[in-house]
Every structure is written in structure tokens, then in C-alpha cells.
């Protein structure tokens, strides 16, 4: 999302999950499945409307996320609202973890499959289409993967902060990377380190939910990468 210049789209998109979470809570099924369904359906609608109207992704996501937030806040049970907005690592059970690992592996494999097409389309859509790449389909699969990753992250840090996991590790990695391999690897490492260190920090700050601490860890990593970048005089 950062390379597509859609960092804030990734952030705002995460809020679209709220009505899905609410329906899950109300109808007593896994709210994160509801959240994912809402994310993906919204992403497809936004993708389709953008294709036919050429209105920017930012504007469409901006409109849909505020609507989703309003609907979600109206229908979600009050007791669940804080968990939906800020996540709750303490409520993550072993099956959630197994599901997250499997989904993550599948997402990584799918991303690897479309990686070259995606990068070429970022450089020039015309160039990609002229090589026979179906850019529209590639973008749709990409949005699906973003929806999956965001849905997994919501459980830990909530809908308000999950955008952080999409944006900050990626911009920190970009600051230090001269090629895509390094960029991809560092993004993953920074994401994992932010999440783990944030969760560990809850031992030292009892009563503080892990979501904000994960965000603080990630921002600290980003700050360090900027300092390293300056020191090495690398170009941003």
C-alpha cells in the first residue's frame, strides 16, 4: 500500500470492518469473519466504482469508511466496542493463532505469485498491460490480500490501529532498502518485531492495552531507521 501511494487507504479501509465485527457479535459467530467479509466486499465495491468512475481510491475509501464507522458504532454492543476498536491480545486463543498462521502463509504465497505483475503495474500500468498482464485482476487479488491481512491484525490491535501494521513497518523498511528483496524482508521483520515488543511491553505497563504499545514500538523502529538512513546518507 505504501508503494502504491495508498498508505492512508490501507489505514481507512481497516475501519470498514467495524459493521462486520458488530454483526458477528450480535449474531454470535466469529466477528473477525464478519470483519473480513465486510472488508473484502467493500474493497471490491471501491475497486469497481473506481474503475468505472475514475474517482480516486482515497476519496472512495474516505466516504465508505466514515459510513462504516457510523453504522458499526450504532449497532455494535457497547461492551464489545472497545475490543473492536483497540483489539485484545488476551482474547486470542490457540485456534485464532493457527488460523492466522495458515492465512498468513497462504497470503505470502499468493503475494509471491502476483509479485512481479504487481510491481510492474506500480511502475507503469500501460507497460504491464502491454505485457499481457491483467492489471484489474491483479489489483483485485491484491485488495483481497490487504483485506485478509487487515482482518488478522484487527484481532490484536483493533480497527483503529491496524492501519499502523500496513503502513509503518513498510515505510521503515523503505527508508533502508535499495531493492525489493530487502524491502519485503525488512517490512516483515519490522512488523513482527513491533507486534512482539509491543505485547511484551504490556508486562511493564499493566492496564495499557497492547494495541497502542505495538504502535509505539513500530514508531520507535521507524525513528531508528531514519537515524540510520541519515547516518549512512542513503537516499529515501
Amino acid at each position: 500500500m505504501v508503494l502504491e501511494k495508498m498508505a492512508l487507504v490501507g489505514d481507512a479501509l481497516s475501519h470498514v470492518a467495524l459493521p462486520g465485527l458488530a454483526i458477528g457479535y450480535l449474531l454470535n459467530f466469529n466477528p473477525y469473519i464478519g470483519g473480513f467479509a465486510f472488508l473484502f466486499v467493500s474493497a471490491v465495491i471501491i475497486w469497481y466504482v473506481q474503475r468505472i468512475t475514475r474517482i480516486s481510491f482515497e476519496a472512495l475509501v474516505g466516504a465508505s469508511f466514515t459510513l462504516a464507522l457510523a453504522v458499526g458504532i450504532m449497532i455494535i454492543p457497547e461492551i464489545e466496542l472497545v475490543e473492536a476498536l483497540f483489539g485484545s491480545i488476551t482474547n486470542v486463543v490457540i485456534w485464532d493463532t493457527i488460523a492466522a498462521v495458515i492465512i498468513s502463509i497462504v497470503s505470502i504465497l499468493l503475494t509471491r505469485a502476483i509479485y512481479k505483475k504487481l510491481v510492474l503495474a506500480m511502475i507503469s500500468e500501460d507497460l504491464a498491460i502491454s505485457k499481457g498482464i491483467d492489471v484489474a485482476k491483479t489489483n483485485l487479488l491484491y485488495l483481497f490480500l490487504v483485506s485478509v491481512v487487515v482482518a488478522i491484525g484487527i484481532k490484536i490491535v483493533g480497527t483503529l490501529l491496524v492501519g499502523f501494521l500496513v503502513i509503518v513497518p513498510a515505510i521503515a523498511a523503505r527508508t533502508l532498502s535499495s531493492n525489493m528483496f530487502k524491502y519485503t524482508l525488512l517490512s516483515a521483520v519490522f512488523g513482527v518485531v513491533s507486534a512482539f515488543s509491543g505485547i511484551l511491553l504490556t508486562n511493564y505497563f499493566p492496564g495499557v492495552p497492547p494495541g497502542p504499545l505495538v504502535v509505539f514500538s513500530g514508531i520507535a523502529i521507524f525513528a531508528v531507521t531514519i537515524i540510520i538512513n541519515r547516518a549512512k546518507k542513503l537516499t529515501v
Partner: protein, 234 residues
């Protein structure tokens, strides 16, 4: 896009009309391109030059006929690419073009012989280096024809001529056909065989040497007067 061109030609365009957002962008454009020649496409901004290329690449809907030789392979260098924000190295970019690409050989084709460039980010290359890398990328699949949309866009004046010299060498060595969009009359005269001037419609089609003729320049840069010529080599 159909494939019914005689053996001397690689491309024939007949009665091409393109309308975008209810505005006519190209009208009654007809021309053909002989194999192994360079056709320069000239015209003011907004004349429809890049649109013509996008039609040839089948990126836009159109009316009329666009006929290529069978099994044509088209290499394309777009006018603009978004590389400044993407941390992709030259080596990685070339590998996107072809899995088993020899990056050193690909770069030597475009006279970039310093292997250190392979590990540089695309976004930090000079304008001339970036254009050469894009041309190398377009050449990876051994195309029969190269479509170059302002191939020296973003290149400083001193580096333009060497790029056209390099392209001329590639054309002569491999009998490649080149279509290039340019604004530079000198480039048209020195490095192309035929000239197609458009301003929505075709305003001039003929030998590039005729650009030296004042009357021809008046036709190209004055009020557009459409011509209905078919063959560029006539």
C-alpha cells in the same frame, strides 16, 4: 487487432478513430509501416501521439483497423514511469521482464557497461541511464518492433543524441522496426526514415527528409490540414 499485413510491412492502420470521454482524439488516421524502418510520430501536445501508441498496444478501444504481421512482438517504452518511490534495483527490474535474463548482456545492448548499475535503485538513476534501462527492458523479449514514447523524456540535451545513435545501431544490427514519438525535428531528420505528423488527424505522411522543407513545416505546425495518404514509404 488483426493480422493481415503484406510481407513488406509490419503494421497497417486504416481509418482509425478514437474517442475518449465523448471527445474525438484521433480521426481517420491511416498509415502503414515498412519492416526495418523508423517512423517518427510528430505533433503538438494533445495531438493524440501517445493515444495512437496506446491503441497500437491494444490499451484503448478504437474504431478502424489495426493490422500487424503474424506473431508480432512489440517492445514498448512509455513516456512516464513511476520509479522514484519504489525501492527496486535495476537487476530486479530486468528480471521482471524475463526470468532467465542475463542482466549484463541486456545492459550492454544499450551501451551501459558498468555492472555496478545493476544494484542501483531505478529511482536514483540519471535520466539517460533510466531511459537506457527501459529500452533494455523492452528489448529483453527480442521484439520485432519498438514503440518509444518520447524516449529522451527527462534526459539532458547532451545525452539525447547518444541514445538515438544507440537505437539506430540496434535497428541496423537486428533489422528492427522503430516507431518513436518525438518533438525534435533534428531527431526526425537524422534518425528516422519516415514521418507521420498528426494533430488529431494525419497532417503529413512522407519521407523524414522532407521536414527540412519549409512548406512541410508549415503544414505540420500551421493550421491542421488532414491528408488521406496510406503508405508511409510512398
Amino acid at each position: 487487432m488483426s493480422t493481415a499485413v503484406d510481407e513488406d510491412h509490419i503494421l497497417r492502420v486504416t481509418g482509425l478513430n478514437v474517442t475518449l470521454q465523448n471527445q474525438p482524439v484521433l480521426e481517420h488516421v491511416s498509415f502503414s509501416v515498412k519492416k526495418g524502418t523508423t517512423l517518427a510520430v510528430l505533433g503538438p501536445n494533445g495531438a493524440g501521439k501517445s493515444v495512437l501508441f496506446r491503441v497500437l498496444l491494444n490499451l484503448l478501444p478504437y474504431e478502424g483497423k489495426v493490422e500487424w504481421i503474424e506473431k508480432v512482438k512489440v517492445g514498448y517504452v512509455p513516456q512516464n514511469v513511476a520509479v522514484s518511490d519504489i525501492p527496486i534495483s535495476v537487476r530486479e527490474f530486468l528480471s521482471i521482464g524475463k526470468n532467465k535474463c542475463d542482466p549484463v548482456a541486456a545492459l550492454s545492448l544499450v551501451k551501459l557497461n558498468d555492472v555496478k548499475i545493476l544494484d542501483k535503485r531505478l529511482g536514483v538513476l540519471s535520466g539517460g541511464e533510466l531511459r537506457r534501462v527501459l529500452i533494455a527492458w523492452a528489448l529483453i523479449d527480442d521484439p520485432n518492433i519498438l514503440l518509444l514514447d518520447e524516449p529522451t523524456n527527462g534526459v539532458d540535451v547532451g545525452s539525447e543524441e547518444p541514445i538515438f545513435l544507440m537505437l539506430d545501431g540496434i535497428k541496423k544490427n537486428s533489422n528492427m522496426t522503430i516507431l518513436l514519438i518525438t518533438h525534435d525535428i533534428h531527431i526526425v531528420q537524422e534518425y528516422s526514415d519516415y514521418l507521420l505528423a498528426i494533430n488529431k488527424c494525419v497532417t503529413f505522411l512522407g519521407k523524414s527528409s522532407e521536414i527540412a522543407n519549409m512548406a512541410t513545416q508549415q503544414v505540420i505546425y500551421g493550421e491542421p490540414v488532414c491528408v488521406e495518404t496510406l503508405k508511409s514509404e510512398d
